[in-house]
């Protein structure tokens, strides 16, 4: 039974990590039109407590995508320089949507595993009933 309880917490950590990732994606999408915004990227890593591999996952440090910002031509914009351009963000909506879908898929997979471990625990407890 301790294995099942452990898998509950592992799945929960997976869901937590995926929702953190979804949060960054929505921050990127919300700031898609903010001038000078660099998109945030994050990676996952395994949670190690006192050199013990727990198998749980945790969101890694947030990094900024250092690729070039898009130059947008709009002479009327208050931030526009002499040539009439200003720096937009480097968010690509298609990439963000794809990332969001991937996060959703992984989240659902974790949820299924959580539910299944719960059902198995319930089955064990049902043995006590007549």
């Amino acid at each position: 039974m301790s294995d099942l309880l452990k898998s509950l917490s592992v799945s929960a950590s997976g869901m937590q990590a995926q929702s953190a990732r979804l949060r960054h994606v929505s921050e990127n999408i919300a700031n898609a039109d903010t001038p000078g915004y660099h998109r945030k990227t994050m990676s996952f890593e395994e949670l190690v407590i006192r050199s013990d591999h727990t198998g749980q996952v945790k969101p890694g440090p947030v990094r900024l995508d250092q690729s070039d910002l898009t130059r947008i031509y709009d002479p009327g914009h208050p931030l526009a320089d002499d040539s009439g351009h200003y720096d937009g963000s480097n968010v690509d909506l298609v990439v963000e949507i794809a990332d969001a879908r991937e996060a959703q898929r992984s989240y659902e997979a974790n949820l299924r595993m959580f539910d299944q471990a719960r059902q198995m625990t319930q089955g064990l407890l049902d043995l006590l009933r007549r």
Partner: protein, 129 residues
Amino acid sequence: MFEKLEILKLAHGMATHAATRQSVLARNIANADTPGYRARDLPSFAATYHQRPDTFDMRETRAGHLVAATGRTPPEIGQIVRGAETAPNGNSVSLEVEMAKSAETQAQHDMALSVYKSTLGILRSSLGR
């Protein structure tokens, strides 16, 4: 409680194996996007059940023999690393494969519990209750 009954021990071992495998699969799915993570798995229950520690138990040496029921503990379950195909970030987890395996694991767990339950039912009816 009924450790002397081989079938209960078998059901116990099978349920334990399913639970352990479930936790390994949950770990794979949680780390489905972790760079450099390699998917892990357990050998099947049938394979681990026949690996027995070297003791002075009776052994079945011919097909018709029954398995000795003395002093058998469920063998230590070792993990195997699976999946040669990796994503560009070095991760070898495939969600589809993991889901299929976890369905299999749940079926195995259900079967073990059913065996346990019906054996207890037989014991109960032999007691006349």
